[in-house]
Assembly symmetry: C2
Homo-oligomer: 194 residues x 2
């Protein structure tokens, strides 16, 4: 029980990464299990061995990407407290992730969940956990504000970034998004100061 365990974990990991790659590249509508398998360099049989079906694979893939995002933010807040990162820098970190693979993948999944109650139920616990972790992070970011106010500012920021992520589908213009971000940072500083 050693070589097998490790090998198993490795192919599982390869499959999850391949699933995320395919989901971002092809979208859920054109998400094909055999393409995931070939992207991971294993057979379709191996995939079905590790994940009982499409939904199972997707749920675990989304779990992975959300965890990695929150981990990155948690490291960010540490740097913030050590004065190695400004508030602006923290927002840059958020945008860096939200404009990459993460957001598009969660968007694809969210739309799927919207139309499949069973799948949504599978995801809801993950989503709740994700939000509570992010909420914690913002409470740490602004310990001098009331928890409600910190949550508000966090949710406004997250939703702004979500919207920007969505708009980036049709408008590929990083300078424009940087400007928006700059404007938001200024408003946020104002709110935090008052």
């Amino acid at each position: 029980m050693k070589w097998q365990q490790r090998k198993s974990w490795e192919t599982r990991c390869k499959l999850l990464n391949a699933a995320l790659t395919c989901l971002e590249r092809d979208g859920f509508h054109s998400f094909r299990l055999d393409r995931v398998a070939s992207e991971a360099g294993v057979s379709k049989g191996a995939l079905t061995h590790h994940f009982s079906n499409k939904d199972d694979l997707l749920v675990h893939a989304i779990e992975k990407v959300l965890d990695e995002f929150v981990d990155a933010l948690a490291r960010g807040v540490e740097e913030f407290h050590d004065d190695h990162l400004t508030l602006d820098g923290f927002l840059d970190l958020m945008w860096q992730h939200m404009s990459g693979q993460l957001y598009m993948v969660t968007l694809e999944i969210a739309l799927k969940a919207r139309h499949e109650p069973g799948f949504k139920d599978l995801l809801t616990p993950q989503v709740r956990h994700f939000h509570s972790r992010i909420d914690d992070i913002w409470q740490q970011l602004f310990p001098h504000l009331s928890p409600e106010r910190a949550s508000h500012l966090m949710n406004l920021s997250m939703n702004l970034l979500r919207g920007m992520g969505t708009q980036s589908v049709f408008r590929e213009d990083s300078e424009y998004f940087n400007e928006l971000l700059r404007a938001w940072k200024a408003m946020l500083r104002q709110q935090v100061a008052s």
Copy 2:
């Protein structure tokens, strides 16, 4: 050339509405032409007679919904100038539309466009036209601000609402969204005043 023209226009319209209904209810992944036909109360043959294929139907449907949205905002800005609508009320109007059929449909379409360059090319002119009309509206809303500043505030607002629309998939809690909106209105007033 009269009964025919009218009948034709009627079934076209029924088909477009049915397409929007199906797209919001089922999502693009489960968007089926025969379901659109039965939703519209016509046969599949009628559908293929009016629209050459799926993409053609979708492009015209999205055109319709975007036009209706901007028309509503245009009426809103008139009421604003006649002092029948406050800035808060105008944002409520925007959120009312963005939290309804409009945004979910555009989201489905945006994700499709993201993975199908040909389809994206079909939509890009529509999207540009949409944005220029919305931009005009915000310029009319804030004639005393610089065009750049008005555009900034518009894009921040739109993207915030987009993000809220996205989040509403997992969080059905209208009071929460009203609170966020209230906070944003306050910040926006501050920005407009200064």
